[in-house]
């Protein structure tokens, strides 16, 4: 029951098996094994319709569902220096980057956007686990700084969806330096009196948890998300004992006081709107579609001397 078997293996398997399934119409639930039709699955925000298991979702898909009418504007993120350490393991780092860019269609592991949710203007940042494990390097640092600066400039709250294995090893010490760097970004929001809400999604581990992901005004997690500093495998090797069931999962962290809430993905938007509007001292959200705009009362021609104004009727309701 570790994330290697739960997450990585199915992920790897799906990479290979994807070609066998024509057009990838069906996805197997990582948890219960149910075959899920792709349209149904994406309509359900990648949550299994059978068992409620929350599968990975890219920031772009998430933002489409999160922002009103799926409308958002991307906030530009300054490009960092590419491969600052000239890092090479079994592969060159630039090659790993190219592979990740090709398979995800994204430039890097974080997407920053502005728009409205429940008619509440926000800035959102989403980390992309499918891009090199969402790892935090210079780009993710730049993205968080850009998101915070944008939020401060527009006086809007920032919602951050975290998902990462930790710091990006290929950027060595510079990825480690993103811990204090992103903490500075969080400080900017706090000083500006703006809400900073962190939504921790599966998995959020390592240096990411130990910096911006644990500094929110409110911490909400998705069900069963793995959230930790050191991963379960490392801990088992260190203490040489089996870890309890559900260790380091969202519900476990909630029990241990590290989170405010554990919330299903489909309820997340409403909950975020409710919380934000209270923190921002705004009136409650008007649910559903707004009533059709009231037509401007026609200017009564002076010639009409009847004197009896038309009743305002239901337009005032």
């Amino acid at each position: 029951m570790n994330w290697i078997s739960n997450y990585v293996r199915p992920k790897i398997n799906s990479l290979f098996s994807r070609r066998d399934v024509p057009e990838n119409l069906w996805t197997k639930c990582d948890n219960c094994g149910t075959m899920l039709f792709h349209r149904e699955l994406s309509e359900n925000l990648n949550v299994c319709t059978n068992c409620g298991h929350h599968m990975g979702i890219t920031p772009r898909e998430r933002f489409h569902a999160l922002f009103d009418g799926g409308i958002f504007t991307e906030v530009p993120v300054p490009a960092p220096l590419a491969d600052p350490l000239h890092f090479r393991d079994q592969k060159r780092y630039p090659d790993r980057m190219k592979t990740a860019q090709k398979s995800t269609g994204e430039t890097e592991a974080m997407l920053v956007a502005e728009g409205e949710i429940g008619r509440t203007p926000i800035v959102a940042a989403g980390q992309d686990f499918s891009f090199m494990g969402g790892s935090m390097g210079m780009y993710v640092g730049n993205a968080i700084v850009a998101a915070a600066e944008r939020a401060v400039a527009l006086k809007r709250p920032l919602i951050l969806f975290s998902a990462a294995g930790g710091a990006r090893m290929q950027e060595g010490i510079l990825s480690l330096m993103q811990m204090p760097r992103t903490t500075v970004a969080v400080e900017m929001l706090k000083e500006a009196g703006l809400p900073y809400i962190v939504v921790l999604t599966h998995p959020t581990t390592g240096g990411v948890t130990a910096s911006y992901a644990m500094l929110g005004d409110v911490h909400i997690a998705e069900p069963n998300a793995l959230i930790c500093f050191a991963g379960p495998r490392v801990i088992e090797q260190t203490i040489r004992e089996k870890l309890p069931e559900g260790f380091q999962r969202a519900e476990y962290l909630l029990d241990h006081g590290m989170l405010d809430r554990v919330t299903n993905r489909k309820d997340m938007k409403n909950e975020l709107v409710t919380i934000l509007r209270m923190l921002l001292a705004l009136p409650p959200e008007v649910k559903g579609d707004l009533p059709a705009p009231t037509p401007e009362p026609e200017t009564v021609p002076e010639a009409d001397a009847s004197g009896a104004p038309e009743p305002a009727g239901d337009a005032k309701a």
């Binding site: 960092p80 090893m169 060595g172 330096m177 500093f229 260790f247 590290m258």
Partner: protein, 319 residues
């Protein structure tokens, strides 16, 4: 003196010289001093040679050398009136983190550092320098104290990393580290750090988000241990030499990357061969870094730290 694997040839020569002298002590007529002196000279030359161009992996070995001076040695030698202050006021006192009030050159400061221990018993007591959340929370408390009474903070970094244990996770290891880093950024007093051995990942950052950061010549500072990196990226922990190379974790590389401000030279053969001299140079550096900062206003100090970390990584390594 414990020899590292790459110091084997040196161990042999020094061993031979010692043997000769032992023989001479047993047999008064023998005169071996000339030969022994020749061996000494040879050993000294070899030592210079070995340490002239240490590979990153060898630097890791030196940085972790058990005979290197540790936090406690620095506090005892450099600080007066050291008064340890214990506990996080929540759960426990973490013995992996030393900290308290002290004076350096008569100037009162708060000193905080990781302590690894020097023998089996003290290593266990100190948890090999791996702090639990209580350690970071104690540091947060001490930094608050320093801030309120306008005392500069000196941190000494020497940790393999934060402790990966069950209780540590349950009590919020990540949150404790994040808050400690946040506190470093917030205090309106000078904060200076010296990496004296190992700067292990987040566990080090939590104390080293400072106005000025110095590293000893053969110390290391890294996002992950070379062994950990090797087992993830090479799928083979034995590739730690390659990983150490790729990670750029030496003081020399970090200075080039603009992550640290100064390198403190070590005696020939590393800090473990002359603890006193090493401690003295670290003391000089701490004083000089503090002198650069003591006259700055709290706002200026906070801004200086923020700008420093916001600007990190703007330039990479020149090819």
């Amino acid at each position: 003196m414990q020899y590292l694997d790459f110091e084997k040839p040196l161990a042999e020569i020094e061993g031979k010289a010692e043997e000769l002298r032992a023989l001479a002590r047993a047999n008064k007529e023998m005169d071996v001093e000339k030969e022994a002196a020749a061996l000494d000279k040879k050993a000294a030359d070899l030592l210079v040679d070995l340490y002239k161009d240490l590979t990153p992996w060898r630097k890791c070995q030196v940085a972790r050398h058990p005979d290197r001076p540790h936090c406690q040695s620095y506090i005892e030698a450099l600080f007066t009136d050291y008064t340890p202050l214990a506990g996080d006021r929540n759960f426990a006192d973490d013995h992996a983190v030393m900290g308290g009030l002290a004076r350096i050159d008569d100037r009162p400061v708060v000193v905080i550092g990781h302590e690894k221990g020097n023998d089996t018993q003290s290593r266990i007591e100190r948890n090999f320098g791996m702090a639990r959340p209580e350690g970071y929370r104690k540091a947060i408390r001490l930094m608050d104290l320093a801030d309120r009474f306008r005392l500069p903070v000196v941190t000494l970094i020497d940790t393999p990393g934060a402790y990966p244990g069950k209780g540590a996770e349950e009590r919020g290891q990540s949150e404790a580290i994040a808050r400690s880093t946040e506190k470093c950024l917030k205090i309106g007093v000078p904060l200076v750090s010296v990496v004296i051995g190992e700067g292990g990942s987040g566990g080090a950052v939590a104390f080293a988000t400072a106005n000025r950061i110095a590293m000893l010549e053969h110390s290391i500072y890294s996002v992950i241990s070379p062994e950990g990196c090797a087992s993830i990226l090479w799928k083979d922990a034995e590739k730690m030499r390659e990983a150490a190379e790729a990670l750029r974790l030496t003081a020399q590389d970090l200075e080039k990357l603009g992550v640290i401000d100064r390198i403190i030279p070590e005696p020939v053969g590393g800090a473990q061969r002359d603890a006193q001299a090493t401690i003295a140079s670290v003391g000089k550096t701490i004083t000089s870094m503090l002198n650069e900062l003591v006259d700055l206003s709290p706002e200026k100090l906070i801004k200086d730290r923020r700008d420093k970390f916001l600007g990190m990584g703007a330039s990479g390594l020149a090819a």
